[in-house]
Amino acid sequence: MTTFFKRASIAALIAAGSMTAASAAELVINFDGTDPAPKEAFQMVIDKFEEAHPDIDVKWNLFDHEGYKTSIRNFLTADAPDVAAWYAGNRMAPFVEAGLFEAIDDVWEDNGLNESMASTAGSLTIDGKKWGVPYTYYQWGIYYRADIFKENGIDVPTTWEEFLAACATLKEAGITPITIGTKYLWTAAGVFDYLNLRQNGYHFHNDLTSGKVSYTDSRTQATFDRWEELVRPGYFIENHAGMSWQEALAPMVQGKAAMYVMGNFAVAPLREAGLTDDQLGFMQFPSINPDIAMAEEAPTDTFHIPSNAKNKEDAKKFLAFLTSKEIQGEVNKILGQLPAHKDAEVADDKFIEAGFEMLANAKGVAQFYDRDAPAEMAKAGMEGFQEFMIKPDRRDAILKRLDKVQAKVYKDK
């Protein structure tokens, strides 16, 4: 079809000069952080980078977080930047397979990243090559209102029974135990992942997301049994399907809800909304099956060089700069997240320290349901999770449907 379109007559239609040619010294970066903290962090990185490389002029395109996930497919093929933000794991696989990301083993080699970023190297490797660099990762867990826990005489739960008891106490006190906003679906996957990791462990998570076990498997069913124990008594906030993750922060700030299963990026907006560190606490997701080693969820955010980039040379300079020890420390301090560089300074912050400690002891680190499972499976799965949270009675139908999607998706692979 393309040749079809390249007829001369069409070419005549196209006004000359519609394409913007980047000059050698321009470095275009596409990034998905319009929230205040990421915006500030990257403004800082770019300022410093331009200072260190006065000959390079950085052009920074900001996208909103949800919209970016759609846009990236478009701009990688059509109008590629020199550097693009994305995620590690299976989430980058389609772009790698389609030849849209550049292999950058040399960046890893030249900057000693193989050693300093060994812990995340695996999630950026496909077919023995490195396809991007990590710049941050962050723990998931339960953020809770410590003051509300105290008022109601609740100790931080470490087992499932204690957790259910805490929820019951909160519910009785007229407080919604868990807030969540599932409008954009992925938040529900965070809850599912933790229940599944605690019920069945890290390997099962990988088997499920790589299509080796089914959704109607008795072990997956057990995960849903646990979930039902939260859904049936109404421990999740009502109307969660109508809220984004940010909107669901409000009930917690207002003291109407006590817990949120979230990533550490939630801390910045919660603080900004007025919660003090005395009011806000972090806990590891409680143990469900004592025989299962505690694995955690810690997604890695990454930067890549598109194959169609115009200025790959400067792009590599930028990646090297971003992954340096100093910048890693500084950028993650602003982000309130963990540096990917092992020697970088970890911010003096109770949530980051808690996360650092938790992950250091983790028996396995999962990326996230929608980063470990192929996109089409992830979409169907997360819609199923959302539906289950609203209509738990449909569980059987939902799981059967997911099996059907699974059979289809992995057969194509």
Binding site: T70, A241, Q386
Partner: protein, 310 residues
């Protein structure tokens, strides 16, 4: 419109020079060439290309793989597709309310009091506004914690329904938002139609003792038939194009329950978790076939009109 003969009549063909005959045959094509070129490239060919792509599995990045009718077979077994189709039917049926509602407002406004012209144009306002704005505004109205619904329910301490996150209400909530501009559209069509209603026939009807509903039904409505026809056509098209509001208000959620074919196609082919161009194209083809029924109907009517002489 009067029928005019468009050939250079009055001049026996033999007397025309070769150039002149040739000129009349060639000139229209010269005038038409730019529009035909554009229209072919951007509208006609893409229709056929979409049909062609619907027989492939293609992620928009790699190679296309011929799969025959596999995409259509899969569609037949796709719950999301049926949900979307069902919602499209609901849209079509409920959107039709815009026609009588528009007529009602038009009749209400069809008076001559001071300032009525301003009233008419203010009533028409919603149609001029982007559906993106309409969608944002209604999404906020429906917000169960601080929307206008919450305000209304708070009068008796009730709990407002969460319209956009409840599968039972969500489609109706979006349609209600869509009806607002659509009613305005129908209203203006009827207002113009009413301008052309012949006063003689009204008078004749009155002499026959027709009043109120009888007058409306037997005398006024028949004269509004052209306006009604256009109103129905634009409403059907509007209902099937229901992309904007779904995209803005719910993105098809919760869990796909407010999806319509127009959005489902986009979601499948070009959104965060979907990039199945072939499957998306197959959905588009189904939507196109549904629309073709209406297009054919419209064209047939136009054809009859043309044959009657305009």
């Amino acid at each position: 419109m009067t029928d005019v003969s468009h050939t250079a009549t009055g001049m026996p063909p033999a007397q025309r020079s070769w150039y002149r005959r040739n000129r009349l045959a060639v000139t229209p094509w010269l005038f038409l060439a730019p529009a035909i070129l554009f229209f072919t490239v951007y509208v006609i060919l893409p229709i056929f290309q979409s049909i062609w792509i619907s027989f492939y599995e293609w992620d928009g990045l790699g190679e296309k793989v011929w799969v025959g009718t596999a995409n259509y077979v899969e569609l037949m077994d796709d719950d999301r597709f049926y949900t979307s189709l069902k919602n499209n039917v609901i849209w079509l049926v409920l959107y039709m309310l815009a026609v009588p509602a528009g007529l009602f407002i038009a009749l209400f406004l069809n008076q001559t009091v001071t300032g009525i012209r301003l009233y008419k144009s203010l009533f028409f306002f919603p149609f001029v506004i982007s559906q993106v704005v309409v969608g944002l505004v209604f999404a906020w109205f429906y917000d169960p914690s601080n929307g206008i619904l919450a305000l209304i329910y708070s009068i008796w301490d009730g709990k407002p329904p969460a319209i956009l996150s409840d599968e039972r209400y969500v489609t109706y909530g979006i349609i209600a938002a869509g009806l607002w501009p659509q009613i305005a559209y129908c209203m203006i069509l009827f207002l113009t139609g009413l301008n052309n209603v012949s006063p003689d026939q009204i008078e004749a009807g009155r002499l026959d003792g027709a009043k109120g509903w009888r007058m409306l039904w037997h005398v006024v409505l028949p004269q509004l038939r052209p306006a009604t026809f256009i109103a129905v056509v634009v409403t059907v098209i509007g209902a099937l194009r229901s992309f904007d509001l779904v995209s803005i208000m719910t993105q098809g959620g919760p869990y796909g329950s407010s999806n319509v074919l127009a959005y489902y196609m986009f979601e499948t082919a070009l959104s965060e978790y979907g990039y199945r161009m072939g499957y998306g194209a197959a959905i588009a083809v189904i939507l196109f076939l549904i629309m073709m029924v209406y297009i054919s109907f419209f064209l047939w009517r136009m054809y009859v009109q043309e044959k009657r002489g305009g």
